[in-house]
Structures are given as C-alpha cells and as structure tokens.
C-alpha cells in the first residue's frame, strides 16, 4: 500500500477550509486544499464578515469567544486588504421588552469576562445618531469586529502555501473519504485525513450530514463616511436565526472601511436558486429603513445572495465522521463562519494530533447527531 500523498486534504477553500489549511501547515503537516471554484468564493464571499460573540448557548459562546480571541491575536499579521476593524457591535433594543434582553446579555457577558456595556436611549443616540429616535437602548460589545472575508481566506491559504500546502482549484470533488478525494475528472488525491469543509455543499460529499442551506441577501451602498460607526443588530436577529422553517428578516448593518454600508439580513429555507428574491429583499430593506431612516436615500450599488450551511441545533460540526477513520468534518457554521473559522481549525488540529483542545469540543462533534438518533 503506497504512502498517501498528503497528511491532510481539505475540501473547500472558503474561510473554514483556509483556516484549517493554515493550522495544519503550521503543524508541519503536508496539506492539500481542493475547491471547484476559487479561494474564498461561496458563503465566504457573500457574507458580512463579522467577528462576533454570541450568547445563544454556552457552546456557541465558547466557540465564538475562543475564536474571536484568535482573530485578535492574528490581527497584527493581517494585511491591509483584509480590512480588519474592531468597530464593536451594538445590539439595539427597540422597546422595553428588548431592553430586558439587553440586561440579560450584559450579565451573561460580564460573568464571562467579555466587555459589554448597557446603553440607555440617550447613550445609544449619542453613539449612533442615525438610528431612529425612540429606541430603548442597546448593548455595546466593543471587542466585536468586521473584516473582508475573501482576502482573509486568501491570506490564510497563502500562509499555508508558504509552508508547502498545495492548492488545487477548478475541479469539483465527486467523492471524499476513505483516505482519498476523487475529482469529477477522475484524478485523485490521497491523504491520511480528509476534511469536508465544503459549507453548503458538504452534504453532497458526506451523505448523512444534516446541513440545510439558508439563503441570505445583502445590499451594499456607495460611500457615506461617518454615517455608521458600529455594527448594529436588532435583538430580533436571534429569533430569526432560531427559526427552523420560515423566511425571516432582521436588521443588521455594518460599516466598511471604505465608508460603504452593508445592509442585511435575511434567512430563507429551501430556496434553491441564487437569484435575488425581490420580495424578501424589499422586506429586509424596509426593516433596515425602520431602524435607520437615513438609509432610504442612500445609493444602493448592488444586491446579492449567499447560502449559509445550517445544522438543526445551530452548532457547527467539527470532528471525526463516524464510520470512516480518515474523514473529518468542519462545516455547518451558519452565519458564524468567519468568526469561528480560526477556532474550528484549532479544535480540529487538536483532535487529530491528540492534544487537549482549549475548549470542550463535545458539543460540536458530528457523532452527536447520530448519538441522538440512537437514543430514539
């Protein structure tokens, strides 16, 4: 039996695949990365590029906080085109009921040493004067940030290549597992470990993966420097992410270093085509205008869509795939792919090299799904 050509072959050159490639190469392993398109295409290119902590669950928090810290460590090495900005997030409370959630979140974060400051109506207006009057307040999370994902993915891949990683672009993968990746043109890459980091396409490669696509829309405006300083999210955003079946929109805007405003967000299940869906786009923009009336007159330059890889329990799948010793999975990150990419890569490397991961990895194990089925 001949030696496998690589130690690891990673399917998917999006942010998660790129982070994995970087980490594995850093360990001195021989790495190959395969993608049918280009580096940082897919959800990586389509998304907002935020780096946020989430308090949805302990496991979600642990992974996002861990990963956010890793981004902060990496920051000094990131080139200009990655446009990393620690602009902070403000969770906006539109009424008193949402304000109660602000206090809950504040306490949650404070107990876990994440800086978070509750803002009353006046303080909120002072920080973001273009928000509509009459908001109840908000929560400022100053360590959150934004970056430009395609360049971040390219940076990580380039670093991996400098350590000898090989990049294969342009050929789709037909089969991944049992120590090999076979392309549609028949060529093969053999490796001790195969990592499925194919995002919304992961299920096609590993049947049994419970990943559903959640389509999202975004709009970007022309340059309006100074209009927005922080990423703003409505508290209803979490309700939107939690829904398992219906279409939803939630107010979420982000300032880019260029002065352009990125406007989101929308979530749809079962939408197959990538064309812009005007009805939900209009709903999304109407919602955004409710929070920031000044957006209405701004020049919208482009709208586009992307597909998030979503799991039933909202946590990503990171770890070995039961039934195939060589296969590992790193996908299902929904709207947190950028944030949790670095943490995902570290966990995966720790699992494979047998080191103790810095956060418990059980909640993200792919086998958790099959375990649940066994109990039923």
């Amino acid at each position: 039996m001949s030696q496998p050509a690589y130690d690891v072959v990673i399917v998917g050159a999006g942010i998660v695949g790129a982070a994995c490639a970087d980490k594995f190469a850093h360990q001195g392993m021989r790495v190959a990365v395969v993608d049918r398109d280009l580096v940082g295409g897919g959800a990586t290119a389509a998304g907002m590029g935020h780096i946020v902590v989430m308090d949805d669950s302990e496991a979600q928090f642990a992974l996002t906080r861990y990963s956010q810290r890793l981004w902060q460590e990496l920051r000094p090495e990131l080139p200009m085109d990655v446009e990393y900005e620690q602009c902070g997030t403000i969770w906006v409370a539109a009424d008193e009921e949402e304000m109660m959630e602000v206090w809950c979140k504040r306490d949650f974060y404070s107990q876990r040493e994440v800086p978070a400051e509750a803002l009353d109506s006046q303080a909120l207006q002072h920080l973001e004067p273009n928000l509509r009057q009459g908001m109840s307040g908000g929560l400022l999370v100053p360590e959150d940030g934004v970056l430009y994902p395609p360049c971040a993915a390219a940076f990580l891949i380039n670093r991996a290549q400098k350590r000898g990683a090989k990049l294969h672009l342009g050929e789709a993968v037909a089969h991944a597992g049992q120590g090999r990746v076979r392309m549609t043109d028949g060529s093969e890459i053999t490796a001790r470990i195969v990592v499925n980091a194919a995002g919304a396409c992961a299920t096609a490669l590993t049947p049994g993966l419970e990943i559903k696509s959640r389509k999202g829309h975004l709009v970007i405006t022309d340059r309006y420097a100074g209009f927005l300083r922080h990423q703003l999210v409505e508290l209803g955003y979490l309700k939107s992410t939690r829904s398992v079946s219906s279409d939803s929109v939630a107010f979420n805007v982000q300032p880019r270093r260029t002065g352009q405003i990125l406007i989101g967000s929308s979530r749809q299940y079962g939408a197959e085509h990538k064309e812009v869906d005007h009805a939900i786009l209009a709903r999304m923009l109407q919602r955004a205008q409710e929070y920031m009336p000044g957006l209405a007159q701004m020049s919208a330059v482009r709208a586009w869509t992307g597909f998030r890889a979503a799991t039933p329990d909202k946590l990503p799948l990171i770890g070995p795939w039961p039934g195939d010793e060589s296969l590992f999975v790193a996908t299902g990150h929904e709207g947190l792919g950028i944030t949790t990419s670095l943490g995902t890569a570290r966990i995966l490397v720790d699992q494979i090299t047998g080191r103790n991961p810095e956060i418990p990895f059980e909640p993200y194990l792919p086998s958790r799904a099959t375990k649940e089925h066994a109990h039923v």
Binding site: D222, Y224, T258, Q297, S299
Partner: protein
C-alpha cells in the same frame, strides 16, 4: 439675459446658459468633480451617466451623476467631501 441662470459650486457662483448640465458648470468653476479613492482629481469620462466619475453633491444629496442633471437656478453643488 433671460436664458442664463446661476448655480453655486463650492460656494462660488457660476453663470451658465439654460440647458447646461451640472458637470459642465463644475468644469467652468475650475474644479474636478470628485477626488478618487487614492486622491486623484477626476472629471466626467463617458458623458452619459455610466462611469460615475462625475459624481457631486447637489442640494445636499451626495453621489449625483452631474452629467445627467440640468442646472437649475440656485442649485448648490459641492465637490469637496
């Protein structure tokens, strides 16, 4: 003359004949329409509203394609950011 009107470009009055576009008025004021991302002065290129090099703020609204807007009496035009 009744077929002349005045627009204000960066606080300076510019007299133009009826039917003149704001892009031409800005040129008459001796100004470039905009400064590019890396600091270059820029003026109209295509003259037909597709290149977006002629963008100016008209009456407070930014990013107007000045080659597509006819001058009106008293219009306030700004090219500085």
């Amino acid at each position: 003359m009744s077929d002349q009107l005045t627009v204000i470009v960066n606080d300076a009055a510019v007299a133009v004949p009826l039917g003149t576009t704001v892009a031409v008025a800005v040129g008459l004021a001796g100004q470039p329409c905009r400064t590019s991302v890396s600091g270059e002065p820029r003026g109209p290129l295509c003259g037909m509203g597709i290149c977006f090099e002629c963008r100016v703020a008209i009456n407070g609204r930014p990013h107007c394609r000045s080659c597509q807007v006819l001058c009106e009496q008293g219009m306030e035009v700004r090219t500085d950011d």
